[in-house]
Symmetry: C2
Amino acid sequence: MATTIRDVAAKAGVGLATVSRVLNNSPLVSQPTRERVQAAIAELNFTPNPTARRLSLGKTLTIAVIAPWFTRPSSVERLRGIEQTLLDTPYDMIVVNVETVERRDRSFREIPRPDRADGVIIISFTPNDAQTKSLLTCGVPVILVDARHPAFTSVMEDSVRGGYLATQHLIQLGHQRIGYISDVFEDPYNFTSRSRYRFDGYREALEAAGVPFRPEYCVQGEHGREQAYQMATQLLNLPERPTAIFAASDTQALGVLEAARSLGLQVPSDLSVVGYDDIEVAGYLNLTTIRQLLFASGKRGAELMFEALDGNLTEPVDETLPVEMIVRGTTARLNAN
Amino acid sequence: MATTIRDVAAKAGVGLATVSRVLNNSPLVSQPTRERVQAAIAELNFTPNPTARRLSLGKTLTIAVIAPWFTRPSSVERLRGIEQTLLDTPYDMIVVNVETVERRDRSFREIPRPDRADGVIIISFTPNDAQTKSLLTCGVPVILVDARHPAFTSVMEDSVRGGYLATQHLIQLGHQRIGYISDVFEDPYNFTSRSRYRFDGYREALEAAGVPFRPEYCVQGEHGREQAYQMATQLLNLPERPTAIFAASDTQALGVLEAARSLGLQVPSDLSVVGYDDIEVAGYLNLTTIRQLLFASGKRGAELMFEALDGNLTEPVDETLPVEMIVRGTTARLNAN
DNA sequence: CTGTTAGCGCCTTCAA
DNA sequence: TTGAAGGCGCTAACAG
């Protein structure tokens, strides 16, 4: 059934090794023989069996990606960047989904093994100490995308800059009373705390503009639209309410918009709102937000993986990707009062 | 470096075959030996090399999924259903993305080969004649999800029913002048024409209720929000404009909503709108729509694949999944005039 | 029940 | 330049 290298050899009247050489572009084949072999390959419509190649090479020709890709739309775009980079290489991509702590632990245990993948790209997780230890000794290179850890090469957006840009934008519009709503800085999933970095950028921007930082304008809570609604309501009921709110995610910004509506505040005339992520809904709702280079992060992660595979990555490298301010309709100049 | 079955055998003081038997739960091993082997396996933290297994078994232990998953959010949910079904099997899932005709053709050519995958699940594509021929002779079972073709086992939503439900809902609210906006029924990508089936349901519902069909209320155009905006504007400028519009996709429904707003029509008091798909934005925009069982379709597709792999699927089977009407805020009883 | 042996299809020395 | 032979790690007869 399956045609093998042996069939090709027979047809071309050469030894198997020669066929193998042709397949692998070895220079040790004379032009005439090469052509004869190539003709035989074409005629038999032969493709080398990947499994056999892998076993023989002692490589899996596979990159595993561990990602919360079903729950986070942003993961999909990153995966796309990886996929496109792998497309014209002999490497396959295996996507391991992670939605629960159990599955994450299981993946960390089962996937990063030399007989499963030649390299592992982890998206949006920061390994803890135990995981770090095991990942470092697993025998395959590990690269982090959308996370940061001193022990690993990583690619991550410039969250501080994102927080800075969002806040600066509001300040430039004349706002001084700027709220910040985010999820809690540390969470049980060990995610890198982006909202913390964004908060740093927020404070930097305030400071740079000489706007006093007011702790009562900063609230944290569980992530989600509902929770953000509550937090925003709280802020907007302050005696001296903020005139602008920067939410650390678009999802939370949606909650802010709803809170404003409930309180009869017009956006952006009464309240300016900035989100973060530029998820699909943001466009529909005309939300001003910060966009990061999702596709590029995956692409870059994959490129770094190939560097690692080639042995050109002896030290961990941290790459930072720029973010972009997307000004839409939920922010406006502060009304003179 | 890599510990093999041979190391285990040595440690347990048995032959390799015995280790293999234990690994594969063969009953031909005495309890004491089995335990000894298991102890050795545990001690060495041994895992059989998947590549070697595959080569030896002559199987890839891999299911390939060909899907437009980066461009269609719905694909992701279907993939999730497949992934979950494969999770506790020895099978890996390889996801092949397809965004262009070139890549689709390339995938159809390269992926469905016995040495690449044991089975192929194709999402949202209907093979044409040439493709059908090659898929049928490729040597691996092929299953269609979200598409239909007489030559293949398939899982698909009940589009006709979806169209029926949407239209019936509007009729029950008192509407008689109901528009239908969709993409063109046949497209160059060879997608199964869902909008055509939905149209059939639309007509059935009209007929069942004795509402006359008016061709001028049905327009087709390229898929997209913009295009739907144009089409809706056209319908709403008719001398006797529709009081309700059923769009064959949520994306198009968004265009309809915008058109209504531009014309100063209130939704739902002046115009009722029903979409299709229940994409994420639909919830935010409070859009009445039809939801299909995306996750279930993937799960079912994978289950059918296992049946095929077990040889229990001699004839193609067509499974139909129910759809669900999601009534939200964009539909209302027709104003008496 | 258990060990030995022969492949699975390919790559890679080692000789020729 | 080319061919023959061994081996990658595992499974599956085939003896014992």
